[in-house]
Amino acid sequence: MLELRGIVKKFGSVIALNDVSFDLEQGEIHCLLGDNGAGKSTLIRIISGYYTPTAGSMSFEGEAVRFESPGDALNRGIGTVYQDLALVPLMSVTRNFFMGREPYKQIGPFKHFKRRYAEAMAAEEMRKIGISLSDPTATVGTLSGGERQTLAIARAVYFGAKVLILDEPTSALGVRQTALVLNYMLQLCERGIAIIFITHNARQAYAVGTRFTVLNRGRTVGTFVPTEKSREELEDLMSGTRELVGMLKTATTG
């Protein structure tokens, strides 16, 4: 449903992405793997409309698209949950949940924010995924890390995300909360939502992924299904060359 061809992104003279191709099918969890600085963040920021690519083409649901702003991608049904979660700690759960998409009623020149309605909806959505909010006006700053993560994902899904980009959703979580998040991702796939799962944890990628794309230094190394490569091979590809791994091994053992 989403296809990228020959994507190039330059920041001045720095080439962050060089000829990257990527595709995503409905209901799959496509893991995007790579070391720090491999270009994962740049790639997802292009898909989510945060950056416009220097070159290359993108199509969504069979149609060529060009996103000029995150709003464009959101309107198409591409929801992104960044590592920073795009939550504002000083704002209430409700204000965060509806941030940028506030339900409103036109009153004269003003777009009146329907706060009561928003509060009820936010509490309801959070309850559905098993978080009971005693107070929807409590600030996000008072939530736990896992609660914030699920709030951010639930928000993207609520606003009709057909494609969900999750940027290292489990990196800051403990084992138990990680399992909850991964489980929630599998549930979403069954509902036909496609997920791009950015991680550098190959173990988690194997646990839930249907396909893997490995990036290294701004290039695609390749796209694989789990049966094609072992976890060790995948980890080698992620961290760079086998030679480098070998060198490190000799360095640490000898």
């Binding site: 992104t80 795009a86 700690p89 704002m91 940028g100 409103y104 008072t142």
Partner: protein, 336 residues
Amino acid sequence: MGLAIVLGLFLSIANPAMFGPRGIVNWLEVSAQLAVLAVGACLLMVAGEFDLSMGSMIAFSGMAMALLIKFAGFAPWLAILSGFALALAVGFIIGMLRVRTGLPSFIVSLAFLFILRGVTIVGARMFNETTLIGGMQNLKHSDFVAFVFGGRVLGGLFNWLASVGWLAKLPNGQPVISGVQMIVVWAVLIGVTAAYVLNGTRFGNWMYATGGDANAARSSGIPIARVRVLLFMFSAFCATVFATCQLFDFGSADAGRGLLKEFEAIIAAVIGGGVLSGGYGSVIGSMLGALIFGIVSQGFFFTGVDGDWFQIFLGVVLLGAVAFNNYARKRISGGI
């Protein structure tokens, strides 16, 4: 809370004349002037920005209107409209510079603090011999728009109060208060509207989000550039309301007007609970901050204490308010 205690202490030692009818109208007007500016500063602060050019903008737009009336033969209403258009355009430019260059608004608006002050002085000298243009006392009655800024309201009420003996009269039979300056009406109008927009509208949520975390706001599809530019225009608008009221009330424009007002506005917003790092603030709080500021500054005047003490008081209150707000922010944001 702490401010209420300070205020209470202060009121207990203040001269009772301050709370006579004339005293009340006096500090109400002083507070209202600052409140108009404080509301502009507060909304900007919520969105994470400062406008240090507000004080210079007061002189600039007031002078622009006076020059248009005196040297271009504009009717007051047309001069007022032109002055507002000019101020909004400058606000737009400041906002665009902030957004496009990505420089902190502190720097961009600081530059305009000097630019606008300079343009005002140079412009005044170019047409007028001095940087003061006077002799416009009667213009406020020349048309409705001028009256809306320079007139006085509630004159009838005070006349009636005086006629039934509840208000003292001057020797000539007129009540001691001839009316309340329009700036008070403007302060209430702007304050109520801004408070509603901040807490009751979609745009208000955008302001909180922009100031709370600009990246989060942007990736949620909020047009943060538009939010910022509009708020710089709003603060220019507030400064111009202040300037227009002064121009038509005093009947003069002076290139030296509005000095340090930008800081007073920020102080009032901070006393009212605004957080300097953005993302939190209260319009009603800022209005109360301006009220406290007005009462205390006039209080020094009425009690006969050397007015320079006021500055020391102000500095201490500012420090206290910032420390308290910072603590409160950490509590509600989970230590971030």
